[in-house]
Amino acid sequence: MSEAWIPSAEELAGFRKAQRLAYDCAEAVTAEMKPGMTERFVAARMKEYLLDHGADDCFHEPFAWFGDRTAFRGLIAVKQLGGFNPAFYPGLRRLEENMPFILDCAPTIQGCTADIGYCGVIGQNAILDRLMDDLIEYRQLILEQVRARRPLAEISRAVDALCARHGYDPRHKAYPFETLAHRIEKLKDDGKKSHLKIANFGVRNIGELLRDKIRGAREGWNPIWNSSDASNHVPTPGLWAVEPHLGFREVGAKWEELLVVTDTDAFWLDDDVPHVRRWAQRGLWKQAA
């Protein structure tokens, strides 16, 4: 793990800007969402918003999941092909009142990529509320254990155990490679307005992930953080997009944020994110002393 990239303060500001844009996008599009809209329509609106606000590349094009698709029920849960599955792409499911939804987007601005997950409902959904409340524990658990420099696989298993205690399904296991988190690398800011995407994924970002995979194989770490033995190593310095995704019955909820890991410490890139603001409003959030 020699020459690990530890982002500078300046670089972090760039990533923070990207992450804010992504969450602003999710909130702005949510404000426009109405029953009857399809996942495809909403995902397209997100893409439009991101392009309008300076995104020049992405890790992946925006995703939108409605209803039981938030919990990855049905075809979307098919795990063959390593979890790459066309049902992941936004579909023709229409939003209804009180139906949970998840928006997930990953814009790149000037070489800095964010990857966020945002959930909500037009109306009321008690199960979603509960899931979103409980998600706070995952954010705390992951940070504490990374700071304690526990092996990543162990942290992932601790997340599994917390899910079991809560009575939730860890639905991030339906992502490709059962990903709890994945690496994000800094790209070159080449000044171009757009970059190549294949099958809705940004080629440059995926390329970095593959390079990490090869490098990780040599150095003994895994750019995909999951419960497998390949992740049985201390936290690798750099940026991780962490995305615990919980499911209970037909409802799923997640957040996704960048975690900054240095040689000795770790912190969330930004505490000013919608889910933290929601926890604060509900009196769940206690700022760490």
């Binding site: 509960r130 079991a164 205690r165």
Partner: protein, 584 residues
């Protein structure tokens, strides 16, 4: 009974009876009788209630010692509501009263709570065996229009229960019958048909029976043919006697559409339950009055609250006790029952885990309670059973699921290991079956006991002597009590899961192994079970299936089915396989 005062209402004198004295903090309960009764029908109930409340009853116009109008139209519901209002204004001019009404009294009071005449004068309404005629009319029309043979049959059955209403429309006949001997025969009829011996024959039975016919004549046809949509926001408690010969229970099915704040209690009694079960009526009435006065809803009332979205599900209204509900099969079973409309008592030795299961069950719409209990302790189980009986009544379904694992050589298994595993796996089931079985018998409930054994119960293994013995015992225990409870129509099922992923593998005690070795074996057992991937949901589904289809013994998973066949048809092979060293 002598009236304590006479109240005037539109030229009619109403005889009013009181029990106890009015008090500033004492709620007032007004009892309204039905047909062919007088206020005296409430005597026993009123005496009990008067210990804590100011209780008032009156003879409806034409009945008891009240005067009789001279024409049929004077029995119109408007006049009856005016009578009630006159009594209420007289006995409780400042505070709204709580109504408890039976039969025709209940029909009148539906009118009172759904019209403006008495707005602000009524705090709550407990209704027994008397629907609003308007509601009944909509009920009949909706069913006839639905075209569903099942629903039309409901109307047919209700009409068959209401034969006398048609007869009352005929001139002369009914009053003549009452005057010509039915009055004398009435106590005997009640005793023969309803099984209740009235303490004293009603001295005004003749006029109660004969005049009361006018209640039907003045209102029924008019209202049935031209019903109004009648709603109320008031809290209404419905007491439904299961053995009512004049009412089908489905008559109440549409009520939530008119009454958003509705509680429903079913009781094992006949039509005149205030005579046959005065304590029960008093207790239910008091509980409801206390709730409305204090805002504190008892557990039983919480359960009784009618929740529209819960209706029509496979286990709606059932109460299910599940042990070991904090994780694994127990949690999944709780959630499945909750989704199927049941209410849940989640029992676990770990109180946080039990509470979490209860919370998740509530998210699925159930009422749910968590209880910390060590199933192996008779004191714990007794206090659980006492609590359940007192707060919620006998359960409909009990799932004795809690269990622990022990593995290793027989000679390394200490007395303490044996005691531990038998205490939870066998004694837990004994306690649960006995305590709750008794409650089911006492309450006359045709309930269901589900005992979770294991494929270990019929799969010998050199490393599982203690665990498998405990599970084999559970199977035999269940077989025996199934036979004994068959007469009572209480079902007993045994579930035999195969290798399913639960916490049990992680906490199994591996005797004769060092702590490190034990941890390693727990890990590798867990991994093996994970590979097998038989989910607790599958066992939960099997449990619901066993209850719904009254199955005696249910193996779950291909390995459980296979091993059962092996033990039945190739026992020698089964014994041979038991020698294999397959411990993880």
């Amino acid at each position: 009974m002598t009236p304590s005062q006479i109240v005037q209402s539109g030229g009619i004198e109403l005889a009013v009876y009181e029990w106890g004295k009015p008090g500033k903090k004492k709620p007032t309960i007004v009892l309204v009788h039905g047909y062919p009764d007088a206020a005296s029908v409430w005597k026993a109930t009123a005496e009990i209630l008067s210990q804590r409340y100011y209780v008032v009853a009156y003879d409806v116009r034409g009945a008891g010692r009240s005067s009789t109008p001279d024409h049929t139209a004077a029995y119109d519901l408007d006049h009856l509501v005016a009578d009630l209002a006159a009594v209420v204004d007289n006995v409780s001019p400042d505070k709204p009263v709580h109504l408890v009404c039976h039969d025709w009294g209940s029909i009148q009071c539906w009118e009172a709570v759904t019209t403006e005449r008495m707005e602000g004068r009524i705090a709550s309404y407990t209704s027994i065996s008397g629907p609003s005629i308007d509601h009944a009319s909509y009920w009949i029309m909706n069913r006839l229009r639905s075209g569903s043979p099942e629903k039309i049959a409901q109307v047919g059955r209700q009409l068959a229960h209401s034969w006398y209403i048609g007869m009352f429309q005929l001139p002369v006949l009914a009053p003549a019958l009452w005057r010509g001997g039915l009055d004398k025969l009435w106590p005997t009829l009640l005793e023969k048909v309803e099984g209740i011996a009235e303490a004293e024959p009603n001295p005004t039975q003749t006029r109660d029976g004969a005049n009361g016919v006018n209640l039907y004549r003045a209102n029924f046809v008019k209202r049935l043919l031209n019903p109004q949509e009648r709603r109320t926001e008031l809290p209404v408690q419905l007491i439904v006697p299961r053995g009512d010969k004049f009412m089908v229970q489905e008559i109440w099915d549409d009520l939530p559409q008119w009454v958003p704040n509705l509680w429903r209690r079913e009781v094992d009694a006949g039509h005149w339950l205030q005579v046959s079960h005065p304590e029960l009526v008093a207790a239910h009435a008091a509980e409801f009055v206390d709730f409305v006065e204090s805002g504190v809803e008892s557990a039983a009332l919480k359960r009784a609250r009618v929740r529209e979205e819960r209706r029509g599900k496979a286990h709606s209204g059932k109460l299910v006790v599940i042990t070991g509900a904090g994780s694994g099969f127990g949690r999944e079973t709780s959630l499945l029952f909750a989704e199927a409309g049941a209410d849940i008592i989640a029992v676990d030795i770990n109180p946080e885990a039990a509470e979490r299961t209860a919370e998740l069950s509530r998210l699925l719409g159930a009422q749910a309670w968590a209880r910390k209990t060590d199933v192996g302790s008779i004191e714990d189980m007794q206090s659980l059973a006492d609590w359940v009986e007192k707060e919620l009544g006998a359960p409909d379904i009990v799932v004795n699921n809690a269990g622990i694992g022990v593995a290793g050589s027989f000679f390394d298994t200490s007395d303490a290991d044996w005691e531990r595993v038998l205490r939870v796996n066998l004694w837990g089931v004994i306690h649960g079956s006995r305590l709750f079985g008794k409650q089911m018998i006492a309450a006359g409930k045709q309930g269901h006991i589900v005992n979770v054994a294991s494929m270990g119960g019929f799969t010998p293994s050199r490393f599982m002597s203690a665990y498998n013995t405990s599970k084999a015992a559970v199977m035999m225990l269940s077989d025996c009590i199934r036979a004994e409870l068959a007469d009572r129509k209480i079902e007993v099922s045994t579930i035999c899961p195969g290798l399913s992923i639960t916490n049990i593998t992680q906490s199994t005690r591996f005797v004769g192994a060092s702590p490190e070795e034990e941890a390693r074996r727990q890990q590798s057992a867990t991994k093996l079970y994970q590979k097998r991937n038989l989910k607790p949901q599958a066992i939960a589904r099997a449990i619901l299936d066993a209850v719904e289809h009254k199955r005696a013994e249910v193996p779950v998973g291909v390995e459980a089915h296979g091993s059962r066949l092996l033990s039945r048809f190739f026992p020698a092979l089964s014994r041979r396989l038991a020698r294999l060293d397959v411990v993880p």
